[in-house]
Amino acid sequence: MEQAFANNGWRKAADAVTAALGINLWAALLFVPALFVGAIHSTPMAIICTLPLVALVVGLVTRHAIILLLLFPLLLLVPLVADGRIIASNIEGVGSFALLGGSLISYLLGASFMSAFHEPTPPDRTRKLAITRPGEQPRSTMPARWGRRFRVFNAFFVLSIIFPAVLLYAINFAPDNQQYMRALYVNRTASMKTVMNLGVLVWWLALFTTHFLGPLQSHRTGDKQIRRELAILRSDVSRGAPRPVFYLGVLGALCFMGLLLYLRYR
């Protein structure tokens, strides 16, 4: 009973923290700058600006990691694309950009950590397995290989924050680069910066997947993940209908086509 209460209390606290971090990100990145530049001037724009909050609420209710970590951040980009003045007012200085970056990282860390609170209830009793040779004392400290693994994990975690921050600084704030771009891409500086920022995003995602996650993949221990993947595969084989990601893809394609048409013909 006490365990169930403690779990429920932790879950509510986790949801509250995730909600607070998400609302903070939405307000800092989107809502306040949009109000400042007067971007929320029509009903479609108001709806577009409210959609991320809807996704956040749905993600919190369902505790779906993909909604919290992918859909909500993606929906934040839609109003920024619809009205470039919103993001332009955000990245005028290193300080404001760093604040936004910190808000985004805090939300992603908080949401990914807190979404782990849907683990099943632990068993009533546990017993440690003492793997010792005859005459030896059971180990009370962490084995050296696990200490090494945690050090490498932590180092890669820190580097995965530094990497995109430095690359974005190089393109948007480094004084020499700004001078070169103004001189060489006359009247096209903003467009070139946008292209380079997109290039950095794609490049960083590829680099992270192959070079940061790559060495760590084969050391994911515990068979919970494998059992979950096998269960998903079994259900996919027996399933006659498309998976939810199919509908997500269709909806996303239609929405972005609509947005493109709206921006072109408004």
């Binding site: 290989r145 050090r151 490498v152 990497f163 430095v166 690359l167 070169y180 891409y185 380079m196 060495p215």
Partner: protein
């Protein structure tokens, strides 16, 4: 010391590759596309080596 060798080398190489990527962005800003491509290749090579060092650090026996 030997235990930490691969870990330190992995972090130095992966972190060091960032310098090449930063320079790549600078060369792109100067419209030196060939130079930026070369720097990107160098950065990719360095980070690949760093990745291998990290993999070796993780598979070291106690």
């Amino acid at each position: 010391m030997r235990q930490h060798f691969f870990e330190v080398l992995a972090v130095l190489l992966v972190g060091g590759s960032l310098i090449f990527f930063y320079e790549c962005a600078q060369y792109l800003a100067k419209r030196d596309y060939v130079g930026s491509l070369i720097l990107m290749t160098i950065g990719l090579s360095v980070i690949t080596v760093g990745k291998e060092m990290a993999r070796l650090a993780l598979v070291q026996k106690e």
